[in-house]
């Protein structure tokens, strides 16, 4: 974002902050947030029966006549040019229909880079297969289409390439020397100073000041990235595994010079996303090959290809310096650092975001830089920034507590801010102190001995640690919902949104049923298809609120439409929309149990089969007026083997404050899923990047270690369930917060167990010996 836009944005924010609540759209709290029927109930997933029978069709499973299968060849150098490419043997191989390289690929525009407009989805702005140049080690240099996957893969192996190698920057150390400050970090200033943090630190009674390092990580959803693609005339249909169908359609349309409506993206089931199932080169290459070959294409990335073509979380180096006064309050909070990035993407890994909102300090300095490498574009992965940022910040808090000889929970209580420490805005709802208190009680925190290495069970050293988790509330503009209510009292709510396992389809059906006062079995939620009203990205833990706000808007259109249909012969005759509520499968006058008419009766008397209301959500001004975040207190118990250094997590508890919980069953699962990914971040996961060649060295699930059953103890989840008065349904995001704070909770527990402070993830056994 340009400096000018930043100024305009901050002027807007100030204006919104000064606006009285009642002037904002959605001024009154959503009445649903206080209902206790379906909302919050542990409803089992609506797609459960399909999924346990293997009947849910994923992108690679869509049946199609005349399919060709794609095989890929990846570059083996990080930067340079293809000097010669010999595809003869591949073309002659059995079953091969097409070999596509830069020489014969259709002319395509570069994808619009994510963030440059609301409909831009490109993970990188590099043109795809348009010339001989190579920009990262692993870039696709050829696509082979054949009758079967086996034939395509074999033919791909026959392609011979000679490269002209050019010097590449593949070392983070080297790139750091030329680090730059980006214009903004996702729309927030890259640097922010309140007071004079350097002076504050120098004058502080107690100081901790350390560097923390985090490696590259990959999402590694178990479903491989895949698309089944067909051109029908000048219409392009992509069955994709996607967490942003609308932006994908519009960006792909731009690449091929089509209108948005000429591209349809369908994605009803996604086998895990976590930020990785977005628009990458493979969908575009698949569409280009389908166009050239004149037949439908299935492109399924191998696990190695996923590592080579789909970016992950980038590496960071962070400094956290805390200066405390004698009473434990903060004189200075400094969080600065650098993340590896490229010149052609826009994902700076916002690790300084937590420090902007969590703690009161007299002086604050946060600043982020990026270091450009010749590598695959890094991208958003579950809680980008906050996951690794909380590792540094919350490890430092633990170090400060120890230096001050204060309990780490008590330290955080003393620096709990009244209002947002950097923006100065009020918190919409923040109950982190309460979450800590309840978590500590459930976890048995009082049993922790603050002296490291004081609890032992045979070879095993035992320790406990805690850390704060935090993730912002986001609601993205542009969401449009459609409610179709029919004469049988059935409702369908529709929006092109996403279900990757979060429980969207279930939770939204619950919320809509509650809103319409219909039984759950009468309500369904349609999603995952750009033919539906437009949705927003399933990212930033924003989707529930984004859909919710659009459904409220559509409901506000539906009620007057129903009243009009009800006419003069209805018990509701003459009532205004503001005087009625949804009740017992119809509308009723507020505070008057007698005056009521069911939807079925209204529609049948009006001779209508259905009534349809569609509306767009208002702009998310609540995000500017208030400081809105989800919070949690994470508690971990580890056992570290004194002989081998092996660390095992024996207990874990997350105490969450995320507004209203809409489905206690699926929410608990999502929190646990985040925490488990956090255990991987803390202990086992790392994408190994060869700093000499720029090549990823462990592109497989055998060598990239995601947590398995035996790594995961029974995890306890509790929550405050205090509704946020300024969000739809009183709910804030829950998808990403679970992973935040976990790295530090584990590291702090390991310190308590062993007396060893590890400031570099993952905490593998070699670091503990």
């Amino acid at each position: 974002m340009s400096a000018l836009k930043d100024t305009a944005k901050s002027a807007m924010q100030t204006a919104v902050r000064l606006t009285p609540d009642k002037w904002l759209p959605g001024a009154t709290s959503d009445p649903l947030m206080h209902k206790h029927g379906l909302l919050g109930a542990p409803v089992s997933r609506v797609d459960g029966a399909l999924k346990v029978q293997g009947k849910a069709r994923f992108a690679a499973e869509v049946a199609m006549e005349g399919l060709a299968y794609a095989g890929l060849v990846h570059s083996t150098i990080a930067r340079g040019r293809i000097a010669a490419i010999d595809t003869g043997a591949a073309e002659a191989a059995p079953g091969v229909g097409l070999v596509m390289t830069y020489k014969n690929a259709p002319r395509m525009k570069a994808p619009a880079l994510f963030g440059t407009s609301p409909s831009a989805a490109g993970a990188s702005s590099l043109p795809i297969m348009q010339d001989a140049s190579i920009h990262w080690n692993g870039q696709t240099v050829a696509v082979v289409l054949a009758e079967t996957q086996e034939q395509a893969d074999y033919a791909a192996s026959l392609i011979e390439i000679r490269y002209e190698v050019e010097p590449a920057v593949t070392s983070f150390e080297m790139a750091k020397g030329r680090a730059r400050r980006p214009e903004s970090i996702l729309g927030e200033p890259a640097e922010l100073e309140i007071g004079d943090a350097k002076a504050g630190l120098a004058g502080a009674a107690t100081v901790v000041d350390h560097i923390y390092r985090t490696p590259r990580y990959n999402h590694n959803a178990i479903e491989l990235h895949a698309a089944t693609i067909v051109w029908e005339g000048d219409q392009l249909i992509i069955h994709d595994a996607s967490q942003l169908v609308n932006a994908t359609a519009s960006t792909v349309a731009g690449v091929f010079g089509l209108k948005d409506h000429q591209v349809r993206v369908i994605s009803p089931y996604v086998g895990g996303g976590f930020g990785g199932k977005c628009l990458w080169d493979h969908q575009i290459l698949g569409a280009a090959a389908a166009k050239l070959a004149g037949r439908p294409v299935r492109i399924v990335l191998s696990r190695e290809s996923v590592f080579r073509l789909v970016g992950g979380r980038t590496t960071t180096e962070q400094r956290v310096a805390l200066g405390a006064n004698a009473d434990g309050t903060l004189a200075a909070l400094i969080h600065t650092g650098v993340a590896a990035m490229t010149t052609h993407n826009a994902c700076p890994e916002q690790f300084t975001f937590p420090a902007r909102h969590l703690y009161a300090a007299q002086n604050i300095h946060v600043a982020q830089e990026v270091a450009d490498l010749d590598m695959l574009a890094n991208t958003f992965m579950r809680a980008p920034g906050e996951s690794v940022g909380t590792f540094a910040l919350e490890s430092a808090m633990d170090e400060l507590a120890e230096a001050l000889k204060i309990d780490p929970i008590e330290l955080r209580r003393r620096i709990e801010p009244e209002k947002d420490p950097t923006s100065g805005t009020r918190f919409s709802s923040r109950n982190i102190v309460e979450a800590y208190a309840r978590g500590a009680e459930h976890f048995g925190w009082s049993r922790r001995n603050p002296v490291p290495r004081s609890q032992r069970d045979g070879e095993w050293l035992i320790g406990m640690g805690c850390a704060t988790a935090t993730y912002p509330y986001y609601r993205f503009p542009g969401a449009t919902a459609r409610i179709t209510l029919n004469a049988d009292g059935q409702a369908i709510v529709a929006m092109a949104s996403h279900e990757m396992g979060m429980g969207t389809a279930t939770t939204q059906a619950q919320a809509a049923a509650e809103r319409l006062a219909l039984p759950l079995e009468n309500v369904s939620f349609e999603y995952g298809d750009t033919a539906l009203p437009p949705g927003t990205v399933a990212g930033g833990s924003s989707q529930t609120a984004s859909i919710g706000a659009a459904v409220i808007a559509a409901f506000e259109e539906l009620v007057p439409a129903l009243l009009q249909l009800a006419g003069n012969d209805s018990p509701l005759a003459g009532l205004k929309a503001s005087e009625v509520e949804a009740r017992d499968g119809g509308l009723g006058k507020i505070d008057d149990p007698q005056s009521h008419e069911s939807y079925a009766s209204i529609l049948s008397r009006a001779g209508r089969k259905e009534v349809v209301a569609e509306a767009k959500a208002p702009m998310p001004l609540e995000m500017q007026k208030y400081s809105m975040h989800s919070y949690a207190a994470q508690f971990c118990e580890v056992r570290v083997n004194a002989v081998t250094g092996e660390a095992r997590v024996s207990r874990f508890l997350g105490s969450f404050d995320c507004g209203r919980i809409l489905n206690s069953k699926t929410a608990a699962s999502q929190f646990k899923g985040g925490i488990i990914m956090g255990l991987g971040l803390a202990l086992t996961e790392e994408t190994l990047f060869d700093e000499r060649s720029g090549r990823i060295m462990n592109p497989s699930l055998a060598e990239y270690h995601v947590p398995v059953h035996l790594d995961v103890p029974a995890i306890d989840i509790i929550w405050t369930d205090i509704p946020d008065p300024h969000s739809p349904m009183g709910a804030r995001g829950i998808g990403e917060i679970g992973i935040t704070g976990v790295g530090a909770a584990v590291a702090n527990a390991i310190y308590n167990a062993t007396g060893k402070r590890i400031r570099e993830l993952p905490i593998t056994l070699d670091k503990l010996l």
């Binding site: 346990v52 590694n220 497989s700 059953h709």
Partner: protein, 167 residues
């Protein structure tokens, strides 16, 4: 060649390089078995061969002539879900559902292995008469089936609830 899949004999003829998994998914339209790595590292492709669990991505289809294969599509009986399938729904043993067919098939065979008295690496008393199918035994025996959504707690609970009344 023929192969018996979920009780039905099926004739097939494929490129000898075709894995059992690709036979199921690409040639027979049985897409319940999933591909997560194609190299034996994730367990998403787990199917039962004569009741034993294997990673079908590591098996060549032509080696399975005449063998009885059970896939996730074959777990339900006459339209009634297997009790383990119902327990997965009840205990939320999945999120995206992609690892789920492999987890289900693996768990069915795992319980069978345990009933036959096969010990695991966490079994304390190898000579004991009966091994308790506790949390640790289940977690160890299911560790070949990865779940990136992190539904592990729900999966263990579903398995426990389904099989806890076994002898």
């Amino acid at each position: 060649m023929d192969i018996i899949i979920n009780g039905r004999t099926i004739e097939f003829s494929v490129d000898p390089r075709t894995s059992l998994l690709d036979l199921l998914r690409d040639h027979l339209g049985l897409t319940g078995s999933k591909k997560g790595c194609n190299q034996g590292a994730c367990g998403a492709c787990t199917v039962l061969v004569d009741g034993e669990r294997i990673n079908s991505c590591l098996a060549l289809a032509v080696q399975y002539q005449g063998r009885k294969i059970t896939t996730v599509e074959g777990l339900a009986r006459n339209g009634d879900l297997h009790s383990l399938q119902r327990a997965f729904i009840e205990h939320d043993g999945f999120q995206c559902g992609y690892c789920t067919p492999g987890q289900l098939c693996s768990a069915v065979a795992m319980v069978d292995e345990w009933e036959r008295g096969l010990p695991s690496v966490v079994t304390q008393e190898l000579a004991a008469q009966g091994i308790a199918l506790d949390r640790d035994e289940i977690r160890e025996r299911m560790s070949g089936n990865l779940c990136r959504c992190g539904a592990y707690n729900g999966i263990v609970e579903a398995i426990t609830a389904t099989f806890e009344n076994l002898p």
